[in-house]
Amino acid sequence: MQESVCMELSDADLIAAVLRGDTASFEPLVAKYSPRVFATARRYARRESEVEDIVQEVWSKAFQKLSSFRGEAPFEHWLMRMAVRTCYDFLRKHQRSRESSFTDLTDPEHDWLEQFVRAPEAAREDSDAACQLVERLLAMLSPAARLVITLLEIEDRTVKEISALTGWSAALVKVRAFRARAEMRKCLRRIAQEKYL
């Protein structure tokens, strides 16, 4: 009964209740927005345990900083800004060895590339191999490049939106996007040069 009442309340009402000390009112917000936060975290982390860690951190930060939410923009925007910044921090903390080469590719990825070389239009974009390959490529990028490529090229966000999400200036987003595309081409060349270039 209490849960259904909570579900009917607006985000602003729930936030006001949490700020008054009713911690339980935070739960409907977690239930409502967790799918968005999980989808965002899965763009940057591969292992499910890492994804859960990121989402937990996002919600912890959201709870601690809830008093700084002014209500001028929707709660979702405020939360997604926090999620993107937490993902960026995660990428910076977990910069693994990003070297990869053609010999590291799995057989399906190898076959997909072969297919692309023979007939580019025949290489299917919706295949698992293409997804694995792009995941490998993104993992090779620096954190800033990965973030900007994901937001700009994959999520089709505008420079202004990225600027709001990341806290970077519009000029910095453009510069980083330019560098990120160059970095991506360099990584692709590194993957392919052993056999095709």
């Binding site: 911690t23 239930a31 967790s34 989808a39 692309f116 974009e125």
Partner: protein, 99 residues
């Protein structure tokens, strides 16, 4: 191989396969348990930490200000004794040359 075309193709592949937003079972309960179990920030603790840091900095400054003058006087003593020694020996040299 056309790298730009390959890059565009791979980005298109990423666009076509967005990650799912599946949430683990009872995730919100877990988050709430975590949030309610987390100790609330204690203002007094923060103050006492800041004061301890301040006290440590004050002790460091006090030690420095007491050690530095000691070193300076030691250096001054050395230069004074050397000066006396040189003057006495110089006069002895003069005395020997006159004799």
């Amino acid at each position: 191989m056309n790298l730009t075309e390959l890059q565009n193709k791979l980005l298109a592949a990423a666009r076509q396969n967005p990650p799912d937003g599946q949430v683990p079972y009872a995730f919100e309960k877990r988050i709430m348990a975590r949030l309610t179990a987390a100790p609330k920030p204690n203002e007094w603790l923060a103050w006492s930490r800041a004061l301890w840091f301040g006290a440590a900095a004050c002790v460091a400054v006090a030690v420095l200000t007491s050690v530095l003058p000691l070193q300076a006087t030691e250096e001054e003593d050395d230069s004074f004794s050397e000066g006396v020694e040189q003057n006495i020996l110089a006069s002895m040299d003069d005395f020997e040359s006159v004799q």
